[in-house]
Symmetry: C2
């Protein structure tokens, strides 16, 4: 589930270290989702990674460090996976691109999305700065672009911030509520074609909602 991007830890990364850290983070991610931060025990993470607890604590010197490493990977992935929207794309292509990117992320990496969602729902206790600075800036920038298109008569006059929330929530939902959705649809797993189907559905309906009235 965890996809390690180009790592840049301060520690020297020997081969064993790299592999062990990956292994531990993989185990920890699952454990943190199921049990929550406080509820996940280092022992249970170690068990899942098939390592002695002391070994886990050798690589990450405490539980919080493990969690922070996971959050960092999650944010990196988000940063990398979410396509940028450019003025020259125009509203239609921009919305298509952003929905496609987010749906893909949700289906390909639901666990990252879940970790993030848990963190926010629980009050962003470990993410305060990120939400306050980076995210606010991101939303405002994108909202500005949408507003430009609106002023320019390229799309309907919808509230850009609400539009971003709509795209965010409707795409994210397929990751965070995976359990519920699969249950409702009576399925065991998502399949490749679900990505296309959902992307098309959301793109269609949201684009129609943003088209100029005539």
């Amino acid at each position: 589930m965890i996809k390690v991007a180009a790592k840049e830890t301060t520690k020297k990364t020997g081969k064993i270290r790299e592999k062990s850290e990956y292994n531990i983070l993989q185990a920890a991610q699952a454990e943190f989702i199921i049990q929550g931060y406080k509820g996940a025990s280092v022992q249970s993470i170690a068990d899942r990674a098939q390592l002695p607890k002391a070994n886990v604590l050798y690589y990450f010197k405490n539980k919080e460090n493990i969690y922070h490493a996971i959050l960092q990977l999650t944010l990196d992935m988000w940063d990398q996976g979410i396509g940028d929207i450019k003025l020259e794309d125009g509203p239609q292509m921009a919305i298509e691109k952003i929905i496609a990117a987010k749906v893909k992320m949700s289906f390909k990496n639901p666990n990252a999305s879940k970790i993030y969602a848990l963190e926010i729902i629980q009050g962003a206790q470990h993410l305060k700065d990120f939400a306050r600075t980076y995210l606010r800036k991101w939303v405002r920038e994108k909202a500005k672009v949408f507003q430009h298109w609106i002023d320019n008569g390229e799309m309907a006059d919808v509230n850009p911030v609400n539009l971003i929330f709509l795209i965010w929530s409707s795409t994210q939902h397929y990751a965070d509520f995976e359990t519920q959705i699969l249950t409702i649809m009576n399925r065991a797993d998502y399949e490749e074609e679900d990505i296309e189907q959902v992307t098309e559905f959301l793109t269609d309906i949201i684009l129609r909602g943003c088209k100029l009235k005539q």
Copy 2:
């Protein structure tokens, strides 16, 4: 945050009991959101309720019982708050009604929504039956009504299940991601007028997405 509906516990409900239980559940709800089920300690719940731990355990004989009581109230509230959709309403009024009801619930009772979201994201460990039976039935029934309108040429041919997910997620988002949304909008709290604004936004855009093409 907790709104106690007409209670029907098996235990006799003396006045003191009723008040204490309410007080404890209120404290526990906040604690379970912040710390998660396993992470919340009975001691911390007791502290928040300003009661000795032993007293809390006198009213609810263990932690799981507290949590179950909260989940039950959450489901009751959901069941009661979500308006029904009827064939005779037609698609437009049905969508308006359901969005309005869900947005209102999200803004008026975000904590209930958060508890529910945490449960689902973490795998619905305490809700398996609910999700498997009740919810599936609910979605299928509503999807059937939408399908009828589609077949009858009263609305565009969109996938009804995806439409329900879209309405669910976009409305729920304002409760679950409250922290993030308030941060982005640089606000301390939601205000009454936010309910209208969001309801109008979502209703407009989703209705336009469901209108027949011509």
